[in-house]
């Protein structure tokens, strides 16, 4: 009598444990077996141009077609399926997939399907075998006596919990098994108690988990309404095609090429020395606004525009000198006036030349006197030396401007350069690129390198080609300049390289249609947008270049 409850409990545990081990371990390259019971039956096929995934769901076959190399969805294809019931045309379902009714999916076993794809001027025939699992197996006869306790929903829930990887469930099962066994021994004729205790044990095992949402699949035939992306124990990621579409996963077909070696340098944005200007007063004086006021910060000015006036300040010594000069001039003017008057009275006896000399002398003295008066009042005009935008302004009306201090600084925002510091001596090729802190890219052109040391480095100047965008002088950036040396490797966009859980640089390789495998690589800088994979990767692989960060977050 003791054997029976033991067997029953053992069988129950085995039945429940089976699906948990089913999704462990994979061969690289081999088609992945069903990940878990929550994934709908599926098959994939690929050619040199296309990759497709077929998903069996609710008696219909959903087909996802993408380009093989880039993983771009192909939504305008004509697709025909040669299946068990002849040739059927698949129709687009509006969400980027194709769908066709497939009543034969109810039959368990292997279905050989040939898919004819006509898209983008290409015709291709792909073959795939879709394996439909047998319907959920009936409970073994020995479990029949208490089968009513462990039917349908509970069994499905158990499977769901186990396939979710909740290891606490195993402990609960083991504990419940032991408790049930003991109880059955005590009660002798009530082996059903074992199952009851098992059920109770599970209910109390993990309340947080029990409350978690998620459809419980009632057997493998009726799968969850959608498939969930998940990570395998080996680090590979299963991502169903609909999820790939949402994450916009795109791949690159790797090719090995020779690339110029590049040098990474810290740099900052500077104004183009020929297109920036400083406005300074040449004499000490009081700042006065021009008619219309001082130009405001950020105002656009043209070369020659009046920006400010400086009323020269005269110190007391200067003022005394000027007063003396004025008195002297006044005195001389009076003397010359008197002499001219006398000469005119005796015009008949003096030479005419004498009178003319005196007249010239008088007019010269009067001009000097007038200039002396005006020099005290005339302000200095400060004009813009170049066209551009007022980048900085220190002008306040009435302020005393020292000669040499910049009142305004004018920068042409369309003419900015980059100055980088090179700690090594390199021979730079013409083109370079810059990466801003926010990831924006700049195209640069090498203009020249200094020879004088500055902070143990040599300044290297680059001009910004094309649209610089919203830049300002002083912004920091990383400059990647090409040197004249070369090396071989695989160029990848920077977005392709992500950090693995252990901090290593990894890329995701698109293995099968819905499987992405992390690959460790070593990279070197190439330019602002790309890195060079120098080891860990061969040509002819499909590497995720868009959405890699999102893939990396799947647990």
């Amino acid at each position: 009598m003791t054997i029976r409850p033991f067997l029953a409990s053992l069988l129950l545990c085995l039945t429940l444990a089976a699906p948990a081990t089913a999704h462990e371990g994979h061969d690289h390259g081999a088609p992945p077996p069903p990940v878990s019971a929550t994934i709908a039956p599926r098959a994939d096929a690929s050619s040199e141009d296309f990759e497709l995934v077929m998903v069996a769901r609710d008696g219909r076959l959903q087909i996802y077609l993408d380009t093989f190399r880039g993983n771009e969805p192909v939504t305008d294809a004509a697709i025909e399926i040669d299946g068990p019931e002849g040739t059927v045309k698949a129709e687009p379902d509006g969400s980027g997939a194709y769908v066709l009714p497939a009543p034969w999916l109810a039959m368990a076993g292997d279905h050989a399907l040939a898919v004819t794809v006509q898209a983008r001027g290409m015709v291709d025939v792909l073959t795939a075998t879709l394996t439909m699992p047998a319907p959920a197996v009936a409970p073994p006869p020995s479990a029949g006596r208490w089968g009513s306790f462990i039917d349908g929903a509970l069994a499905a829930d158990l499977r769901h919990r186990i396939s979710d990887g909740a290891w606490t469930v195993y402990g609960a099962v083991a504990a419940a098994f032991a408790a049930g066994f003991l109880l059955a021994l005590l009660l002798r004729r009530r082996p059903a108690a074992a199952a009851l205790v098992l059920a109770l044990g599970l209910a109390g095992a993990d309340p947080g988990h029990a409350a978690s949402p998620g459809p419980a699949p009632a057997g493998a035939a009726a799968a969850a309404p959608r498939d969930l992306a998940q990570r395998f124990p080996d680090g590979a990621v299963f991502v169903p095609k609909p999820t790939q579409r949402i994450l916009a996963i795109r791949t690159l077909f790797t090719e090995e090429n020779t690339h110029p070696r590049s040098v990474e340098m810290p740099g900052r944005v500077i104004p183009d020395p020929n297109r920036a200007g400083s406005v300074q007063a040449s004499v000490a004086g009081r700042l006065l606004p021009p008619p219309g006021g001082f130009p405001r910060l950020g105002a656009r000015v043209a070369a020659g525009d009046l920006l400010a006036l400086v009323q020269p300040a005269i110190n007391s010594a200067d003022a005394t000198t000027q007063q003396q000069q004025a008195r002297e001039l006044d005195q001389q003017i009076t003397l010359v006036e008197r002499r001219l008057e006398r000469l005119r009275q005796i015009q008949s006896v003096v030479a005419r030349a004498q009178i003319e000399d005196a007249e010239l002398e008088l007019s010269g003295l009067r001009i000097r006197r007038a200039n002396l008066d005006r020099a005290q009042r005339e302000p200095e005009r400060l004009v813009a030396p170049v066209g551009g935008v007022i980048a900085s302004a220190q002008a306040i009306a009435g302020q005393i401007a020292d000669p040499g201090t910049a009142v305004f600084f004018i920068i042409d925002p369309d003419a900015l350069w980059v100055e980088a510091l090179s700690y090594d001596v390199h021979a730079f090729a013409g083109k370079a690129s810059g990466r801003m802190a926010d990831g924006a890219m700049l195209r640069l052109l090498h203009r020249g390198s200094g020879l004088a040391d500055r902070n143990q480095a040599v300044p290297v100047q680059f001009s910004i080609e094309g649209e610089g965008g919203a830049l300002r002088p002083g912004q920091l950036l990383t400059v990647l300049a090409r040197s004249t040396q070369e090396r071989r490797g695989i160029a990848l966009p920077r977005t392709a390289v992500v950090r693995g859980a252990n901090g290593q640089a990894i890329v995701y390789e698109h293995g099968n249609a819905e499987r992405f495998v992390p690959r460790e690589i070593r990279v070197e800088p190439l330019d602002a947008a790309r890195v060079l994979a120098v080891s860990g990767l061969g040509p002819g692989r499909r590497i995720v270049v868009q959405g890699a960060e999102l893939l990396n977050q799947i647990r």
Partner: protein
């Protein structure tokens, strides 16, 4: 048992190089590819409408094609053509295409064995 193991191993190997799709040259002048786990199929087209598929087992030993049925789906000149293939003695399955089929044609052949299982060969 060893035959099954060999077939399974062959499948695993071909799965690894699935992207490369390396087809072998067959004794009849066509490409030999795997058809399911048990068979190899060699498709021979010579620029005429007649298309011949030679059946062999996993060890490339010809097997009688009696009782087999097959459908060919081939890409000829940017169009797909479908036609049935019938046993024609020996290991041969012969069909007639509506258009002339050049050598090295791409496409697939669905082969139904006498036991009723359907396998596919992609060329």
């Amino acid at each position: 048992m060893t035959r099954w193991t060999a077939a399974a191993l062959a499948l695993m190997l071909t799965a690894g190089i699935a992207l490369a799709h390396e087809a072998r040259q067959g004794p009849n002048g066509g490409k030999v590819v795997d058809a399911g786990t048990q068979y190899h199929a060699e498709l021979v087209a010579k620029g005429t409408p007649e298309v011949v598929v030679h059946m062999s087992d996993a060890n490339d030993k010809p097997i009688p094609a009696d009782g087999f049925r097959a459908t060919a789906i081939l890409v000829v000149g940017g169009q797909t053509v479908r036609f049935p293939l019938q046993p024609a003695g020996g290991s041969r399955l012969v069909g007639t295409s509506p258009v002339a089929v050049p050598a090295g044609v791409r496409g697939a052949v669905q082969i139904t064995s006498p036991q009723g299982a359907t396998v596919q060969a992609r060329f």
